[in-house]
């Protein structure tokens, strides 16, 4: 599904070259729930940007669904993001004066999907993300933090992406709401089969995943299967 081999990313500030990623390799299979953990400056954000096709590596290869995306142009990367990747940001990044359902529809607008089809798919995504239906037509600046993040998750799901990238999704939420959001990811992974990559600096948050990749100074220091705090039940229904 995702194959990253020997990715390097260098930044130049004046004469000083900093290596944000220094030879990172790993594979993620369809249906995995993986956390990438590291302190700030470890290179985890850079790695997320590359996996999210927001940035290109200096060297190394990145295959997404069998396609080499490490050498694509800006507009090609836009198309990959539109069709293959769903983002959930720490700061939600919703359009404040648009309704929840309009926010969720936005990726479909850029994919030229017709309005009726958009509404249907946005509705499905909002149901999957667990936003109550009476909130769908509220403007996003009228929603609580937890509800906003559910809208953001629905927006990430609406184009049925190959992978959902969540960058510190609980960072702006209180711990109780954060827990609910993490359970939502678990549900999406267990019950709907979504591939999820969670980027965080907190061990506690990372432990919701099935596998934790730890980064330090641009290198992988550990890559371990863990027993999740909320493992998928053998038979579990939507809560």
């Amino acid at each position: 599904m995702i194959e990253i081999s020997d990715i390097r990313k260098a930044y130049r500030v004046g004469d000083i070259e900093t290596l944000a990623l220094d030879g990172v390799s790993f594979r993620i299979e369809k249906g995995d729930f993986v956390a990438i953990m590291g302190q700030s400056g470890s290179g985890k954000s850079t790695l997320m940007h590359i996996i999210g096709c927001l940035d290109s590596p200096t060297s190394g290869r990145y295959f997404l669904g069998g396609h080499d995306v490490s050498r694509m142009t800006d507009d090609e990367l836009s198309d990959v993001r539109r069709d293959q990747i769903g983002f959930v940001f720490q700061a939600f990044n919703l359009l404040p004066r648009a309704t929840a359902i309009r926010n969720v529809s936005l990726p479909l607008i850029y994919a030229n999907v017709l309005p009726e089809e958009r509404d249907r798919r946005a509705g499905e995504a909002l149901l999957a993300a667990g936003l109550p239906e009476d909130r769908w037509h509220h403007h996003s600046n009228e929603l609580s933090g937890g509800q906003k993040q559910r809208v953001a998750i629905a927006r990430a799901l609406v184009n049925s992406p190959a992978i959902v990238l969540a960058d510190e999704p609980t960072g702006n939420l209180d711990s109780k709401t954060g827990e609910v959001v993490l359970e939502t990811f678990r549900h999406l992974n267990c019950d709907l089969g979504h591939t999820i990559l969670l980027i965080t600096h907190e061990r506690y948050v990372a432990e919701h995943a099935d596998r934790i990749i730890t980064l330090k100074d641009g290198r992988i220091v550990s890559d371990e299967e863990v027993r999740s705090k909320h493992p998928c039940p053998v038979e579990r229904q939507t809560p």
Partner: protein, 406 residues
Amino acid sequence: MRIADLFQETYDAVTVNKVRSGLTMLGIVIGIGSVIALLAMGQGAKNSIESSIQSIGSNLLMVRPGAMRAGGGVSSGRGSAQTLTMDDVEAIRGQATAVRAVAPEISGRYQVTAAGTNTNVSVYGVTEEYQSVKSLTVESGSFVSAQNEKGRSKVAVLGSATRDDLFGEGNDPVGSKIKINRIEFKVIGVMAAKGGSGFGSADEAIYVPLATAQQYLSSSRYLSMINVEAASAEAMDLAESELTDILLAAHDITDPTLADFMVMSQADIVETASSVTDTFVTLLAAIAAISLLVGGIGIMNMMLTTVTERTREIGLRKAIGARREDIVRQFLMESLLLTFVGGAIGIVVGWLIAQAAIRFASIQASVSLSAVVMAVGVSVGIGVIFGYYPAQRAAKLRPIEALRYE
């Protein structure tokens, strides 16, 4: 991105900050509005000048005395010379082929009194042809006749405005006596109002027989002007050259540049007046164009501010799959919407100003279709030109930097 979605996104973006969008649009409204209003007034001024010149008469040529140069000596000035006489009139009558009628005139301003009232008015010594050449119509009584001319009768025909001044509006003064320059004349007719104002109004005038005027008023055998009606509109050029040739021969002048008269057609006068009004209109439009330019810069300013303010939003849009062209289109569309709506409102405002000018300032104004088309074109052009740079800036933002922007 579908067109309907593009409009929806644009509409949402523009209405988020209504006050700012409105103020930005105001720049375009004022610019387009002033262009439309000023062009309308300029066009109106041109129309009214042209129509007042046209009211003088049709197919009319005017021969005026020119500067007399005695062997390259001192010029006494154009129009002041006394070179035209009745001999010239007879020569034209006898020789010109493309001419329907010849009407000599002699004019001067005199103090005119009637029972208790008086006025200072232009008195024209004319022959009976004058009426048809100048397309005048009689309201009551009759115009100067050939008998009046032959008998040097002291009779006068009043222009309608002069009748109003001397006898009051609506009164019929035919048969009354007036004194022109203290000489008593009998009123034999009143002319119908002709309209047209300013120089040489036919309504503010008194007409007397030419011979009478020569004998009692000007005491001179020279004419002020010879009005010539060409046989047709097509014959104007031929008539003009015939007149020149006949008069050069009659005055024994071989070099046309030394001619002691000048022949002017109505078209010449219209052309001269039009070139003046054209300059005037261009000047007004240029001033209005400056306000349009300022409006355009206002659009660019707002769009650049918007791009900066919405950096995160642009980053997000790119992150979820917007291509560069999607972003460019969105921002261009926003500036186009502002300028298009601003332009449309500006046209209405300009039209209202023109109507107000007609109503309250009695200035002639007419909004032409070409001005409206131009205004729409210019405002759309401003939208594209001043929206392009901000749109490009937005599209070039790198999503990771844009998303991090605080």
